[in-house]
Symmetry: C2
Subunit: 241 residues, 2 copies
DNA sequence: ATTCCTCCCAATGTATACGTAGAATCGTTT
DNA sequence: AAACGATTCTACGTATACATTGGGAGGAAT
């Protein structure tokens, strides 16, 4: 770390102590983008971002390159770094890929012996979803649902699948932050998830796949309705045009 | 120089002459890695790579970061940039993900109207595979096969799927460069591909999916045999896993 | 007023400088 | 001789300097 004399720009919290500045910038920006704290479509200059994060342009650029590779950011030559907009098309495409990966993952998980504690973790996530539904906590429901799907992928021994899926999971989550306020209460999701877990416990890949596929198909059409109802959702709030 | 048939360009701009040094380094290194020109597991210092490409460390690092994000390279803190090794596990995982994505893609393509010229392109790739098989040109067969699968994804309107799949296609291609010399003549692949194209032409998603799924399953088991026969294939001087 | 041209500036791409940390080497001690 | 310690040296992370280039503002001409 660079702690010679003028330590004017020290970050007191610094959870990730040993992490490099590049890594810190990457995590920070990623978090802000995924949480919509940085608005989709927003344009910011490298210099501004660097200043915002209290570092020079070098580590910032490296972080941005990583984010660009993930599709979370689009460097626009002379205008700045653009936070990836969320188009209607993106939402559909992302969910299609995610569904495909997730169905595969569910099948893989069900095809291998699963420990009780793993089942318990899944059940716990479903319980959290139920609880959130009871108290009309749609945000809490979203979090629990995200946790459930994360778990599915984590239980899957295919690291490549896991890694790629997480990327799409994150993107889907970001998109969902836009759609959540407009969704009706997602009642069937929970019973479907429970049925999938049951199939996993029984070690029944085909059933798990079918249930999950059906669930995904249902969600897809629900998404279509939402998109149709609120097409303005995806208007770039702070886009250049 | 080293121009393989993988003309997978990114969105920004064609990587030709006006490209930035970062872009040039990225393309060049990527090509070399995918063609096994840079051996899996090889360690090279940033300085050496920069010198090799005739540029300073800055653009080189940016290229390396992109490659690292794709999993083609692993920067090892004090030892250098490591070209991603190819483990047996990697091969299995990559093919599993790719199969999953490809089956989805085939279904999507078959579900939408396909123009004659698109069918023709697919047929042409299959013809090239046939011709290569006739003349025992296993390398030519690999290229044509790669082209066929690329086409499948390109005909798929889902850009996210396309992009992610291309990544896995490239990785799988790299792994296949190792296994190609050991493969028996892949006779059934061609008839399967032809059947898939036929299903696509008829607009029959389910059949296309089933055929392709069966094909992928068969290939997967063939791969298993190869791996079992030649486990030494995957041990260049890497020491991870 | 609109359009085109020119000039200026600022944002980026790239090179370089610099401090730090980790590894290897060499010397010392038991 | 082996183990431990100090020292040097090297590779990397980060900051900064610099050149280029594209874009926009302003002016002139129609």
């Amino acid at each position: 770390m660079n702690t010679l004399d003028t330590d004017a720009y020290m970050q007191p919290e610094a959870a990730g102590e040993g992490a490099s500045r590049t890594e810190a910038a990457y995590q920070e920006l990623r978090q802000r983008i995924l949480s919509l704290d940085l608005a989709p479509g927003a344009l910011t200059l490298e210099t501004e971002l660097a200043a915002m994060l209290g570092m020079s342009r070098t580590p910032l650029r490296e972080a941005v390159i990583r984010l660009a590779q993930e599709g979370l950011v689009i460097p626009v030559p002379r205008r700045g770094i653009q936070v990836a907009p969320i188009t209607e098309r993106d939402v559909r495409e992302i969910n299609q890929v995610l569904a495909c990966l997730e169905i595969e993952a569910v099948m893989i998980v069900a095809a291998r012996p699963v420990r009780d504690e793993e089942i318990a973790a899944l059940d716990s996530a479903i319980a959290a979803m139920d609880a959130a539904l009871e108290s009309d906590d749609i945000d809490g429901w979203g979090k629990a649902d995200f946790r459930f799907h994360s778990l599915i992928f984590e239980l899957c021994p295919n690291r490549h699948l896991n890694q790629t899926a997480r990327l799409y999971l994150d993107k889907a989550h970001r998109a969902r932050l836009l759609t959540l306020p407009y969704r009706r209460r997602p009642v069937y999701s929970n019973s479907n998830h429970a049925a999938v877990v049951e199939a996993i416990r029984r070690g029944d890949p085909e059933t798990a796949r079918d249930i999950h596929a059906a669930h995904k198909r249902r969600w897809s059409s629900e998404l279509d309705q939402i998109i149709e109802l609120y097409p303005s959702m995806f208007e770039p709030g702070s886009s250049l045009d």
